[in-house]
Symmetry: C2
Subunit: 323 residues, 2 copies
């Protein structure tokens, strides 16, 4: 009887403890009261058999939930290079974890059709990512879309891109800037909103180009712009990381910030390796993550959830100055 026999099941434990299967289950789950004596016998039997608790797979099937929430983030390699994304992920994980749910990373290339997910969070991500969308809808998986376009059946969490961007533009206008350039992200819902906000103040703003939220990418992008014309007194970026890239590249060319050029970011993350504080639009990253996770929790419970748009706030730093 010491052979490598199969792992003990709850039924084995129940038998050993001299109780019924259902009672043993109750002893573990605590879903209904069980006398202390009985629970003790069950626990003792479990310990004796080396039973390590109810099989999660079986429980999941019975309860129809997996305890796992997916988060679609496009390409992992780029998604978390920006600390803003990390801050949000952290908050999501914290809230879900507190409810005993796990967070599963869904990369674009992977096939998640075979994974049991209780809900899926779409963090801002490219077109390709939406490929799985229809499948998830068909499977009736609750969806929470962060900073994405409106999708039927999904709960949307967003920030006020447009007015944040407009407030920043107004600040630059107040400083006397008239020729403004902007570094954009790939075409996306937030990008369009932000550009609209910018153009409320500067209809003629020039697009320097688009790149990922990455220091090196931004540097590479603006190097050509600086060389060619650089005909702008201020550059508005879509993330602090991009802005940092622009500042560094400007410095490298002897362009002083903010004396010769004002640079603004977005997000409000820490950039300790810049010796100035960026003027930026601060978004509540942790709050966004918490709100997102709570929306997912509510959807899992079956509660109706309203869409949310979180406010942002202009923070004036040392990277912008008079034109």
């Amino acid at each position: 009887m010491s052979g490598p026999s199969r792992a003990p099941t709850l039924a084995d434990v129940a038998t050993a403890a001299g109780v019924s299967l259902s009672t043993a289950s109750l002893a573990f789950s605590g879903n209904k009261p069980v006398s202390a004596a009985t629970r003790e016998r069950v626990v003792a039997a479990a310990a004796a058999l080396g039973y390590s608790g109810p099989n999660p797979l079986a429980r999941n099937l019975r309860q129809g939930r997996s305890g796992v929430v997916g988060i679609a983030v496009g390409q992992l390699s780029t998604a978390f290079r920006d600390p803003a994304a990390l801050a949000m992920l952290d908050a999501i994980s914290e809230v879900l974890g507190a409810s005993g749910l796990g967070l599963l990373l869904m990369s674009d290339d992977d096939d998640h059709a075979r994974l049991p997910l209780d809900a899926v969070i779409y963090d801002i991500c490219g077109r390709e990512t939406w490929a799985a969308y229809d499948d998830l809808v068909a499977r009736d998986v609750p969806l929470v879309v962060v900073e994405g376009p409106a999708w039927p059946g999904a709960t949307h969490i967003d920030i006020d891109h447009r007015s944040g961007s407009a407030a920043l533009a107004a600040h630059l206008h107040d400083l006397g800037h008239r020729r403004v350039g902007t570094v954009t992200l790939a075409a996306s819902h937030p990008q369009r909103e932000r550009e609209a906000g910018l153009r409320e103040v500067f209809p003629e703003a020039t697009v320097v180009g688009a790149c990922d939220s990455d220091v090196a990418a931004a540097q590479a992008l603006v190097t050509g712009w600086f060389a060619r014309s650089g005909d702008a007194t201020a550059i508005v970026c879509q993330s602090d990381v991009q802005a940092a890239g622009v500042v560094l590249e400007a410095r490298r060319r002897g362009i002083r910030v903010p004396e010769d050029l004002s640079v603004a970011g977005f997000d409000g993350v820490a950039t300790p390796w810049l010796d100035l504080e960026l003027t930026t639009v601060v978004q509540p990253l942790a709050g966004k993550g918490r709100t997102t996770a709570e929306a997912a929790l509510a959807r899992i419970r079956g509660t109706a959830v309203d869409d949310v748009v979180l406010p942002v706030e202009l923070r004036i730093g040392d990277s912008t100055g008079p034109a």
Copy 2:
């Protein structure tokens, strides 16, 4: 019949298609040949009923696998602040994804006992993280430990911390350095190995202090050291991110790198926002991730896996120079 009745099951599809449950299952899984005509009927019936494929929870129970691999990373907020960690995560995700497995983030504070995991990867992480270890062993979950201490039953993937560190130290010694300081990580297996490597060459090296792999943390750490004594001609860090912090803080104080102070890192990640190339120990981050993921896959299959120690390589940059 248009009520919000329960979702259709494979049994419903089978009935509608006029085949047995088992045949319908075969039609979807392809585990055994099914005539084209039959498959077509089943697919048609599924489409008609709005059946979205076999329930993953049920399949998981039957097959005894969940298709999910956990990765324990300590605190999310700090774990991925270093691009080295991200590079590895990316590689892991890619390999697992190619096998249809999902990657679930396990933060320290969460209780993952109720989650069905096919395997768990322990990326270098603090003591607390090991709390769940015993439970996982009891549940017979295959474990892969990356850069961690030896644990019975786990597969270990590591890099050659010691000789990498020693090679770097030798390089500094060749340059004439004799008084060397080191910025360390929290006490851990790799930290101990690296310090041992350093002391092979500089037995007397002073420990400046320990901090996370984070630019701001490193800056904060060395600022006191510089103010007090700074009695060293070279500082060896345990990550490129730390090294960047040291370089930036030195600059801020007018200390030139490498003329007045040599600084070395570890990892070999890109630091585009530094205008010099760090001397560092390059470790195969993607390779480490792939190896780790493949070890996990093998363990899931039940294959025996040998521990692996990957080689590292010294890369000499512009951040070190003659003493």
